[in-house]
């Protein structure tokens, strides 16, 4: 049995991309009660559309209801949960037990416990199982041994496999509240953990390294351990990043889809493919590491590079239409490219083919040499069949 690949979706376009590129389920936030208050998020109408789209593909939609509630939010909660139930949401992801009790009393929604509760042990897991929770999103601090133990509980186990990390135990950081007045546990986190600071000793003397002190950790990537994780029968593999781009989501989801399928379909012949790692590194914001999975959280986990986060520059355009007769692809530009560039198309149904850009046509079908305007619509002639939501990117180094 293959584990579920669970992808983030900040809006309906990201949701479609995630599902088309191989996610089995997506998690989204509504306009209320989610921990990404500053993402676009979904209205109830958009959630309905999302559910219809996903269910047609036999896939699932989960909604995050994982903020830490304040008194004033309580009165809206019951109606909101009932609406989610009505429109066919497959599960809610919650952290506050108040939400669990309101949901179990008033809806038939399946309940997943958010990583905000930092569930790290079998006793806590048993407590939530008895409350009616069907799945636990494990704390990111769980080691491989922890995951094996938790899996014996009979509950579904979901774990993060890729994306950014909190520097603290989830839920146990309010740096954002105190330094910027933005509430970390209600979706307003301003990521103080990415800031740099000067570090001092007990006598308030500066301890100066080549780089400044920061709480920041490298990102998580468990690509190299997917075979092992599949063997542990983990139920759901979660990718972080509801505010990430469609290109990021398409790239990361398609790689993990490929690796899970490769291993589960033919475990005896499975070999780790370095090319997948190269592709992931092209969309990464920062270096990645296995983090707590191997029980090592020494200096290798921390990130001091002060790197300016400029991912997605490889993302050149998204396919809007393809005309089979003329073989013209209608492309929406996302980064500069020009005639003669060697690029690559990839999509849900093709893992990537090389293409040298020849004639480029603008919307009036006039030939141009350079595409430099964001979201500019252009046409290219491509012999291989393309589909909506295929992407054009800078050619990936396959070595």
């Amino acid at each position: 049995m293959k584990p579920e690949i669970l992808a983030p979706a900040g809006d309906i376009e990201r949701l479609k991309v995630a599902l088309l590129y191989g996610a089995d389920a997506v998690y989204i936030g509504g306009n209320l009660f989610g921990l990404r208050a500053n993402a676009v998020n979904f209205t109830i109408e958009e959630m309905k559309e999302a559910v219809i789209f996903a269910h047609k593909l036999h896939k699932k939609v989960y909604v995050t209801v994982n903020i830490v509630l304040h008194n004033k939010e309580l009165k809206f909660l019951k109606d909101y949960l009932m609406k989610l139930d009505e429109i066919g949401i497959d599960a809610i992801i919650v952290s506050d037990p108040a939400v669990i009790s309101i949901a179990t009393l008033n809806t038939n929604l399946e309940i997943h416990l958010s990583t905000q509760q930092s569930t790290l042990n079998t006793e806590a897991l048993e407590f939530y199982k008895n409350l009616g929770v069907t799945r636990i999103v494990l704390a990111r601090e769980c080691s491989k041994e922890d995951i094996k133990l938790m899996k014996q509980s009979g509950l579904e186990i979901e774990m993060f496999i890729h994306g950014a990390m909190c520097a603290s135990y989830s839920g146990r950081c309010v740096l954002s509240n105190y330094l910027t007045n933005r509430d970390a546990n209600r979706g307003g986190c301003s990521q103080i953990c990415r800031w740099d600071f000067d570090l001092y000793n007990k006598d308030k003397e500066l301890l100066k390294g080549d780089k400044n002190f920061t709480f920041c950790s490298k990102d998580l990537s468990l690509l190299k351990h997917i075979n092992e994780i599949c063997d542990m029968k983990v139920d759901s593999l979660k990718i972080e990043g509801r505010m990430r781009s469609i290109y990021y989501i398409a790239t990361v989801v398609s790689i993990y889809r490929k690796v899970v399928d490769d291993y589960c379909n033919n475990p005896l012949d499975f070999e780790y493919n370095k090319m997948y790692e190269n592709i992931l590194s092209q969309v990464a914001n920062r270096d990645s590491y296995v983090q707590f999975y191997d029980g090592n959280y020494s200096k290798d986990c921390n990130y001091y590079n002060n790197r300016i986060e400029i991912s997605n520059q490889d993302f050149l355009g998204v396919v809007k239409e393809y005309d089979k007769k003329t073989k013209l692809v209608k492309l929406e530009q996302r980064n500069y490219f020009k005639k003669g560039d060697i690029v690559e198309f990839f999509g849900p149904n093709n893992f990537g083919f090389e293409y040298q850009i020849n004639d480029i046509y603008d919307e009036d079908m006039q030939i141009i040499d350079v595409v430099r305007h964001p979201k500019q619509i252009v046409y290219l002639k491509v012999d291989i069949l393309l589909e909506e939501y295929d992407f054009m990117r800078i050619k990936v180094d396959k070595l």
Partner: protein
Amino acid sequence: MKTLVIPSNLKIINNLNCDGVIIGIDKLSVNMPCFKLEELKKIKNKEIFVSLNKNIHNKDLELLKETLIKLNDYNIKAVIFYDIAIPNLAKKLSLNYDLVWNQEHMTNNYYTINFWYNHGCKYTWVSNDITLREMKEIKDNTKSKLMVTLFGYIPMFTSLRPLVKNYLNTFNIIDNSKINYIEKEGKMYPLINNELGTSCYTDFILNGLKEKLLLDYDYIVLNSFLIEDDKFIKVLDIFNQVNFDNVDILENEINDMFKNTKKGFFYEETVYKVK
């Protein structure tokens, strides 16, 4: 209203003019001074609240269970918990003390407090991340006994990662400080890195003297972390003698003593939607 103190050391406890103390136990507690279990016997005439507030990993469960059972012999008032392993174990063990729900930054609404009350946790240590008005609403809507911190540096961040040690190792810096500070825009934030990870505190001391008079809570908590003993004893005296007639003078006295006091979120709501 009773006063609880998080003491800086064991020796000072019996000289403190307070109703009780909150203490940690080695290997099971964070963000407070920790002692050995047997040292609890040295505490006389005080209500004892034991805070077992670390995030519990599977490897900690045996020690936790053993400690919860042993605490039956120590005449303590309650165990304060963060990890949900504790209320689950409490259902299986016959414990002769109460539980205090204290998931630090999550104890923010009365519905969840009532949830825990109905699950056998008769006390809640309310978060400092909410306003005074919200704290009062909680009081009006729960039977749970309530406690709240009204003085001291507030923990803002708790991590398993040894962040100071990692930084020192990365850049080959030698430093054996038991406490460090990080600085940003002229503000210094205390940082503790020990075998359980790293904690970061506010740059200011919360001074809720006036708010003591405005809140009808069962317990207030004064935290002595980083406060000199003589000054802390003076603060405790002030909290013990405050009334509506002298509150302004006494509040200024505390402010003058420390220079970096603030009101936290008593009168300032956090925001989360910025677009």
